[in-house]
Symmetry: C2
């Protein structure tokens, strides 16, 4: 009986944990390196947390890897309602933002107040990309796909007929803002790939 409040607090967290199982069924435009199938947003989230940690010396000094990992753990949960929007697809940005905000309100709203507030705040910080931690998290979120596409001969760039100018704007800018050394390393390789593909 003494444990009743803790246990009911536990039960109140379960629906959120069950609902988030659905992120495993949200598929992205990019494929596994083995090329077997499209990647889902849950396994993508796991992988870019590993990218962030392994590459954390390329973050600007004073950042917190622990906050970045938590941001990346949460960052795609809104896709359960709002879907994945490939960065090279045609998108109505205002509509997408409204959809994702509604998704965040519904999904994080399943949690008790204290966690709802802190999860929403961290997701919003990531989306706004105006803190150092959020900018590094965004850079890492953008870098996995180009590295994979370079390793697999084009990947989603071929599917979406992407140009180097589009990459520089939609991928290069966020990486440059959050992890400039990584962009300095990646850019020449992208130039080489797109030059060879005569897409520059």
């Amino acid at each position: 009986i003494g444990e009743a409040p803790a246990q009911s607090a536990f039960s109140s967290r379960l629906p959120f944990l069950a609902e988030t199982d659905q992120l495993k069924s949200v598929y992205r435009a990019s494929r596994l390196l083995s090329d077997q199938r499209f990647e889902n947003s849950a396994e993508h989230s796991w992988h870019i947390m590993l990218f962030a940690w392994v590459l954390c010396e390329y973050a600007t000094p004073g950042f917190s890897i622990d906050r970045v990992l938590k941001m990346l753990l949460l960052h795609d949960i809104v896709e359960i309602d709002a879907g994945d929007h490939p960065i090279h697809g045609q998108v109505d940005h205002a509509a997408q933002e409204a959809e994702e905000q509604a998704a965040a309100n519904r999904l994080f709203g399943m949690l008790p107040t204290d966690q709802r507030v802190s999860f929403l705040a961290l997701w919003q910080e990531f989306e706004a990309a105006d803190s150092q931690d959020a900018r590094f998290a965004k850079a890492i979120d953008r870098i996995q796909t180009p590295i994979g596409n370079l390793e697999t001969g084009g990947g989603s760039w071929v599917d979406y007929d992407v140009t180097f100018a589009q990459i520089e704007e939609r991928v290069g800018n966020p990486i440059q803002r959050g992890a400039p050394d990584l962009w300095a390393w990646l850019r020449p390789q992208l130039v080489a790939y797109f030059t060879a593909e005569i897409r520059v």
Copy 2:
């Protein structure tokens, strides 16, 4: 030219990040809540990090959620070489441990020294389960499947013909050690399920 050392350090981390993509193709004995397919170990790792964070008030005081998240981020990477061993399957534990240690040496060995040492140490702490953080991480690793099985009418318990005594030993003990309040909440529900199934 001033950036060359940082950039070569970056290149030296890429093979590990590419190799770990394979965790998305290691399938577990448990299924998604939608029952569509088996769960893979990468998306499982993502989900239990979320479980750990959402349920962190059930950890014993003084633990570090940041260390637990990092442990869970790494904990299944060895399965790329050693495979997933369902806890209700027949297993030669000594052989499995040797296989996982060799896998950890090979996979974390792809990283530069500083990260190899710290990742190996954290993985070994998790495996040994003799720190507070590791015990909580182990408890969380064990709790996702029974919660899912309760929600889906048995799941992998049916496939493996599991008894309550087996659950109590292989699932209950680690949850009790790392998060006793969670076991106090879960146990009566398991008793009710297995009583109804006449498997007690």
